[in-house]
């Protein structure tokens, strides 16, 4: 099931994503160099390439469309203004997601007063329900998705960065600004919370 270090990754194969080739990395480097030189066209290209990824990550952590868009605006402004500080030691996506993570934390702090409202807007519970068999997997996926949404932000961020962005634990540690072991621990806690879902599914089947 695993392609190994030299081939496409398991996550990429699973979801039809191509691995990032050296040429793509060079392309990113060229793009950010042009942004450093105040090339607006390059910046727009960079925006189109990374804004969906950044938007999704911000959405996972903030969950208010208006504030997410504001945070995305801030992230892209920081990229435009501080492109010269990108030192090339990490992937461009890692650098940008690190900026996004910090902006998301600040945005969450600003809107903390409205957390109660946010919780109300989220789906309740993760209990499985509905017909057997044909719907079972869809129900499980839906329940898992809801359970992931209800994880504490720091755990949800690690799950999102691992399974959606296909990042290594070292890259995730860099983005969220914590030691590698903390990343692993957060993931363990998240998996433990999700384990009950699989137990429930096991009882059903």
């Amino acid at each position: 099931m695993h392609a190994g270090a030299n081939g496409p990754t398991a996550g990429q194969l699973m979801h039809g994503k191509a691995p990032m080739q050296p040429s793509a990395l060079e392309d990113d480097l060229d793009l950010i160099r042009r942004v450093v030189g105040r090339d607006r066209q390059a910046f727009e290209t960079l925006y189109h390439r990374y804004s969906p990824v950044v938007y999704r990550y911000l959405w996972k952590l903030i969950r208010q469309r208006e504030i997410v868009e504001e945070a995305l605006n801030d992230v892209m402004m920081v990229v435009w203004q501080t492109a010269s500080r990108f030192n090339g030691t990490s992937r461009l996506s890692t650098w940008i997601l690190g900026i996004a993570h910090n902006k998301a934390l600040k945005a969450r702090a600003r809107s903390a007063r409205f957390d109660a409202g946010l919780r109300e807007a989220e789906p309740h519970g993760v209990e499985l329900s509905g017909p057997e068999d044909a719907w079972a997997h869809r129900e499980l996926a839906s329940a898992v998705a809801r359970a992931i949404d209800s994880l504490p932000p720091e755990q949800g961020a690690v799950v999102e960065l691992t399974f959606y962005h296909d990042l290594s634990y070292a890259e995730i540690a860099k983005i969220v600004g914590c030691p590698v072991n903390t990343v692993k621990t957060r993931m363990l806690h998240a998996r433990r919370r999700l384990a009950s879902l699989f137990a429930a599914e096991s009882k059903r089947s």
Partner: protein, 239 residues
């Protein structure tokens, strides 16, 4: 049953399949599933999976989590189409802070909060609360009128320079690809600057204005204007 086995694995990693080795594998299984383990670590996990049913089951569960994560909320994963236009407008106008948008959101939050308080307050006290709220609004307005607006989160290229090294002004400069070493020397000599760092991977040089006086920001601005007007300088900004 599955849940119990998972928890046991996490709490007592020595129960089966190799003690600490099992615990290590268990911790990094998500990154085996997303394919980011490399070299020895990947091989170690692959070998362990051949003899550990518990970890093999957990791989399947991690794959289920990955599928759920990827299939969730595709509809909300993109900014609105006009977002880029607003961003470019912000860049064009040099408005480097989203302060106006934040103020708009905050004002709306306050209005909503006041409305909720009013709803839960006996009518006798509403007028007193209204007066208090009005006083707060007036106070905030007075502060704003005095220029005590929220600080900008970003520094523009033309902002006053702040350096940790007294008496030295550092600038970041990116030269055109076709500039020669001689042209760089001539240019820097003409503005009284020397290279102190760089180039970085982004081709950024840090130059110091020789004997610059930090109390003379006008000279810094003139130098930046001169550099920005040079045909072979792509970027110049105060560091």
């Amino acid at each position: 049953m599955i849940r119990r086995r998972n928890l046991n694995d996490m709490q007592d990693p020595s129960d089966q399949s190799g003690g600490k080795g099992h615990q290590k594998v268990w911790e990094i299984l998500p990154w085996y599933v997303n394919g980011t383990l490399e070299g020895d670590e990947h091989e170690f996990v692959a070998r362990h999976l051949l003899r550990c049913q518990s970890c093999a089951d957990e791989v399947v569960r991690c794959q289920s989590i990955a599928t759920a994560v990827r299939s969730a909320e595709a509809a909300t994963s993109r900014p609105s189409p006009e977002h880029l236009a607003r961003l470019m407008e912000r860049i064009d106008h040099g408005s480097v802070s989203a302060a106006p948008e934040r103020w708009r959101i905050r004002v709306r939050e306050w209005i909503e909060k006041i409305r909720l308080v009013f709803q839960e307050t006996p009518s006798l006290f509403r007028w007193a609360l209204a007066a208090e709220t009005g006083a707060i609004v007036l106070l905030v307005a007075a502060i704003i009128m005095q220029g005590s607006v929220a600080p900008s989160f970003y520094r523009t290229l033309s902002d006053a320079y702040t350096s940790s090294e007294p008496g030295r002004v550092h600038l970041q400069v990116v030269f055109a690809d076709d500039i020669t070493e001689r042209e760089i020397r001539t240019l820097l000599s003409s503005i009284g600057a020397t290279i102190v760092a760089g180039p970085t991977p982004m081709a950024v040089y840090t130059v110091a204005l020789v004997a610059a006086d930090r109390k003379a920001p006008a000279r810094t601005r003139e130098t930046l204007a001169l550099l920005r007007g040079h045909p072979k300088v792509r970027l110049a900004e105060a560091k």
